[in-house]
Amino acid sequence: MVHLMGRPATPAPVHGNHDVGRGRHRRAPARIPATERSEVKQPFEKVVEEHGHTVLRVVRAVLGPYDADDAWSETFISAMGAYPDLPHEANVEAWLVTIAHRKAIDVLRAAKRRAMPVDEISGPPHAPHSVAVDGSSGPELLDTLELWAAVRTLPDKQSQAVAYHYVAGLPYVEIARILGGTTEAARRAAADGIKNLRKIYPGGMTEGAPS
C-alpha cells in the first residue's frame, strides 16, 4: 500500500509544489520511508543534516564566505524556534531558503551601511582560510573560487535568483515568493544572471552548453 504524497495540500506559506526542474532526491534518508516523512515532522537534527549545506551555499551566494557563518547560524536558530508551528506538508527547504535570504539581506544591508570598500566587491576573490590549508589547489579550485566571486558580482536579484534556483533547486514560483515579484520576473532574473555569468566567467559556464 503506497500513499506517497497522498495528503491533500492545504494552503500554506510554502508547500511542496516543485516544478519538474527540481528532481533531486539524493538526500532523502534511506531509513525513513517517504510515506512516514510526509505524515510526521522530522527531528530538527534531520532538517539541519539535510538542508545545512543548501543554506550555507545560499547565504554564501549573497554574502561570500565571511559573514555566511553568522547568517547560517541565525537562519537555523530562527527556523528552530518556529519549527513546531510549520505545517507538516510545508516545503522545508523553501522555508529555510526564505529565512536564509532574509538573514543574509539583513547582514548585507548592515555591511553596505558601513560603506564596504570597492575591492571587496569587485576585487580578486579571497580564498576562505580553510581552503588555503587544503592541499587541492590548482586550476579547478581557482576556477571554483573565481566563479563563486563572479556570482557575487551579479546584481542582487540576479545572484539570488541564480543561487536559489540552480544551487538550492527551488522552483521559480517559490523564488518569486521569496524575492517578491512574479514567477516570470524570477525566471528572467535567473536567466539574466546566467547570461551575465557567461560574460564574466566564460570558462565554466559555456562548458557543454551549446549556444
Binding site: G52, D69, S130, V131, T144, A150, I194
Partner: protein, 215 residues
C-alpha cells in the same frame, strides 16, 4: 546566445553548468564547517531555551546507547536494537521536534554510565523525566530503583512492592516499556523461576548487566 534556455535542459542550463555553479558555492572543507556550525547551533539553541530535546550516543559493553534529555532530565535510553532513528522520530513526535544532537546536556549521565560499566558506580544520580510513560507503568518504573545493585526481584515481588500483587503481567509490561533501561534497572526483574524473562535490549544484554552487577 540562446534565447530559449529551457530547451537545453530542465533548468534551462546544462547539468554540467549547474554542477559547476553548485561547486562554486561549496568549498572542500564544507563538512568541517557544517560540523562546527552544527555544534554552535546546539549551544546557541540551549542558551536561547529552544532546545527541547538533546541527544547523544555512547558506546558501552552492551552496544551503543542513545541518551536523550529534556530540560527536566533524562527522558530516554535506547538500545541499538530499538533503531535509534526510529526512537528519535518517536521523540520528535511525542515530545518536540526541536531535537538536536547536543552531547553537553548528556555529559553527566554519560560519565555515570561509563563508571557503571567500569564497575565503579552502583546507582545513578541524574534527574529523570518520566513523561514518556503514564499511570501504573510509570508508578512501577519509579519504584524499580529500589531494587539495589546486584539484587533481583521477580515480577510478582515487584507487583507486591507497588501494592498490587495481582498485577504481575502489568509489571511485565511496565518493564518492557521502560523508557530508561539500565538507568532504571528493569534488568533486575526476573521470572519467578529465576529465568531471565524478556528485556528491551535482548536477553544477552540483560545477562551481561546481571553478570556485571554480580562481579
Amino acid at each position: 546566445m540562446n534565447d530559449n534556455p529551457r530547451r537545453r535542459s530542465q533548468h534551462g542550463l546544462t547539468t554540467e553548468a549547474t554542477a559547476v555553479l553548485g561547486a562554486a558555492l561549496s568549498t572542500p572543507s564544507d563538512s568541517d564547517i557544517l560540523a562546527r556550525l552544527h555544534d554552535r547551533l546546539a549551544l546557541q539553541s540551549e542558551t536561547q531555551g529552544i532546545l527541547d530535546v538533546a541527544y547523544a550516543t555512547v558506546d558501552t559493553p552492551v552496544g551503543p546507547l542513545l541518551l536523550a534529555a529534556t530540560t527536566k532530565g533524562l527522558v530516554r535510553v535506547a538500545y541499538a536494537s530499538e533503531d535509534h532513528d526510529k526512537v528519535l522520530q518517536d521523540l520528535a513526535q511525542k515530545l518536540s521536534p526541536r531535537l538536536l544532537r547536543a552531547p553537553n546536556r548528556l555529559d553527566r549521565v554519560a560519565r555515570e554510565l561509563e563508571e557503571f560499566f567500569a564497575g565503579q558506580r552502583r546507582a545513578f544520580d541524574v534527574d529523570l523525566d518520566l513523561s514518556l510513560s503514564r499511570g501504573f507503568r510509570q508508578l512501577v518504573q519509579r519504584r524499580l530503583p529500589e531494587i539495589g545493585y546486584g539484587q533481583t526481584r521477580s515480577y510478582r515481588e515487584v507487583a507486591e512492592l507497588v501494592g498490587n500483587p495481582n498485577a504481575v503481567r502489568a509489571v511485565g509490561t511496565a518493564c518492557a516499556t521502560n523508557p530508561l533501561p539500565v538507568v532504571i534497572p528493569c534488568h533486575r526483574v526476573l521470572r519467578a523461576d529465576g529465568t531471565l524473562g524478556g528485556y528491551i535490549g535482548g536477553a544477552e544484554a540483560k545477562a551481561a548487566l546481571l553478570r556485571l552487577e554480580a562481579a
